[in-house]
Amino acid sequence: MSLTFPFSAIVGQDDMKMAIMLTAIDPSIGGVLVLGDRGTGKSTAVRALAALLPKMRAVIACPYGCDPDNAKCPNCVAHATAGRKTESSKKTSHWVSVPVVDLPLGATEDRVVGALDLERALSQGIKAFEPGLLARANRGYLYIDEVNLLEDHLVDLLIDVAASGENVVEREGLSVRHPARFVLIGSGNPEEGELRPQLLDRFGLSVEVKTPDLLAQRVEVVKRRDAFEQSPQAFTEHWKKEDDRVRRSIVAAKKRLPDVAIPDEAREFAAQLCMSLGTDGLRGDLTLVRAARAEAALQGARKVERAHLIRVAPSALRHRLRRNPLDDSGSSTRVERALAELTAPKPDAFNS
């Protein structure tokens, strides 16, 4: 595999980087949707993510990469019952990198959900299940570039699996269900097509990326890109320290996360914000609070403060607003407006 552009070498795009780091800290936030102009480094950032993630423990030879403490997939369950009898060796798990699985355009359904293993069926006449991309993405990330161009029947599949965390395969006489919990990451250019509202809802955070319009930033982008292409090795080496630092901060935040308190005031503020924006359902509130907690952990805070909520609110709520065709302003401005209204009139409401 060729070297990928280092995450920390991406110029600007702080919102996108923050969102990606937050989901790495707390995967339960849900996925990240990155929408933006052409040539803004959307896919570069996501592809760089893999190098940032700390390793995780997984059951050896489990096609779904099960957590040894919580192995629930059919393979592991079968092994566990068989293993008791034969007293297998203690070393059953190993450290692996968190999978970041690319769902390429043109992928067929059988490869996404998994299907009959054609090779074994043809050569040995054995009916065996060959896990697909959803299995491989379990406990990791599933990345879909140009998510708005994804075929409708694949979208349907993803919506279902992303909600239930389980992939149920009923085809060709196979009947398999296996865990498929993954963080969905999508990127795309909104000009090329809209996203189904149901799929939008599966993304915890959404960020809009824009081309930087400051000359200095643009020059820096071009220079780094150029330097990377001239000698990828040296460039990644140069940024390795910085990437390591980011990784350490993610690991530290992950450790700190359970201890971050969420005061009732913070929950109230989040609820108020969601109400004033009229977001559908409670997923908005939940995601907002979770993201704020991850942000607090990242900042090293003990409890969730209003600043954390404000920082993540646009990403957490932007894509959950009802479309109002008569309101010309973008969703981000609406969130910001609501924030300003909430914070401005009674500044003591929260602090009291």
């Binding site: 355009l105 161009l149 060709e172 479309r323």
Partner: protein
Amino acid sequence: MQGDAATIAALFAVDPVGLGGVAVRAPACDNRDQWLALLKSLLPAQTPLRRVPLNINDTALLGGLDLGATLQAGKPMALQGLLSQADGGVLVLAMAERMSLSSAARFGHVLDTGVVALQRDGLDTSAKAKLGLVALDEGASDDEQMPAGLADRLAFRLLMGAQDAGEEGPEWTAQEVLSARQRLPRVTMDDEAVQALCAAALALGIDSLRASVFAVRVARAAAALAGSDTVEEEHTGVAARLVLAPRASRLPPAPEPENETPDSPEDTEQQPEQSTSEPQEAQQQNESNADDEPSDTKDEAPSLPENLADLVLAAAQAAIPDGLLASLKIGKLQRAKTPTSGSAGALQKNALRGRPVGARKGEPRAGQRINVLETLRAAAPWQRLRQRQIAPTDGQKPRIVVRKEDFHVTRFRQSGQTTTVFVVDASGSSALNRLAEAKGAVELLLADCYVRRDSVAVLAFRGQSAELILPPTRSLARAKRSLAGLPGGGGTPLAHAIDASMLLADQLRKKGETPIVVLLTDGKGNIARDGRPGRAQAATDALAAATEMRLRGFSTLLVDTSPQAQDAAKHLANAMGAHYLALPYAGANALNQAVREVAGRS
């Protein structure tokens, strides 16, 4: 232009992978063929140069399961796709202007990563595919553009006409290209040059950062081609002219201090002759006014006082042809238009065509297509058993035993998409009355269309003709934008409008979509079909057009926008067989309701 064409071919041959490719916008003509031949001669021998037909399927493009070989070998055999076959070479895309967005995304992905990731037909592989593209864009009008996402990933745009005289430009040989390739990794570029190119891109209103990246690479390639180890001024100039100029979306703020207006678009568009004629002079002027005009952050002018930045800009500006910006504005509006692949024939009533949505058990009869792969899949697990059952008759067992119950046929789903065509009367009489309300109503309908995943198109008519201001799209934002900018005033060419909407509806129907025409007018046409004013003739023509509309059997809705319900509009609605709705007493919600009813009826 010929000189540039040769330069582009040579530069592209030096670094096909790094530069992404060339978008050649030209009719199929000798010039284009000559250019392709030139490119071929410049590329080192044995460079793969493959042609990709427009409607290539995923298996041929990306790769897939080679059924023949699979059956022979008794184990899955992969078929190499065109993309990986062309690794290290160049792919020529035919008719890029009709390429679908999803194909464009596939190519874009390969250009970005240099790898074809294959997750198809039970195969899970990835193959190297570092390649350059030549996209042949034969678009004749501004409506036909190659997908912008792909164009953005190609460094060069090359415009050629069939009649362009073959004015001789500089010539390069394959030998020179070869030595330039060897030199390329050694070419160094100073920060000032990078900065200058970025500043020029910013000043020309080029958003995508890929343009700047390409400009840097082109400058390097130009230096390598010229046999220089460092990028000099002339090389950055070449990069600006070939990469940045064709992408310009605005002209840079003119350097003249007497340019007092804070750049209104009309003003800047008239600047090119002045500011481009003498790069030297412009540079000097800019130097002088750099002092009395401190860099303003709001104005995105290059705040660098460097001479190089100005030179680069001047080089780019000089290459911007007249009228380019006007055409760009149109192009911008239509860039996200979804091109469709091929023209479908009749209405797609039966489920024999459309998008394949998996397979189901069943025999291939009545035109249903057998799904070979699924059939084999179904048969595969049983082979051992069945082989045993079959007694070898002539000493040879069949390799695969397929039985009737294994057959699978492909299921297709009709697109079943509804496209609502809004025909908005923007003439003087309507504008006075209720153009704003009509716009509001359309926006409400748009929200509904969004929920139902419908496409919308907007036709506006005023003055002499009807104009498609928004081609069918699903993008609500663009529909809103195009409506907001809709001017009012002028005559009412009602017959024209009906004709135009009929044409569009016909096209949509041929694509297998269901068109609904919503006509918002007061029914008082005053421009006849021949374009002459006259109420009586206009009314006759409009009625004739309306009758034809009814005969074709489109679902239509006529919204009367006059202050009081008028007979004219009612007559028209009757002739058209349209649902009639008087807006004065109906709120926007009632209108919304009405469209739903029409949609439900069809």
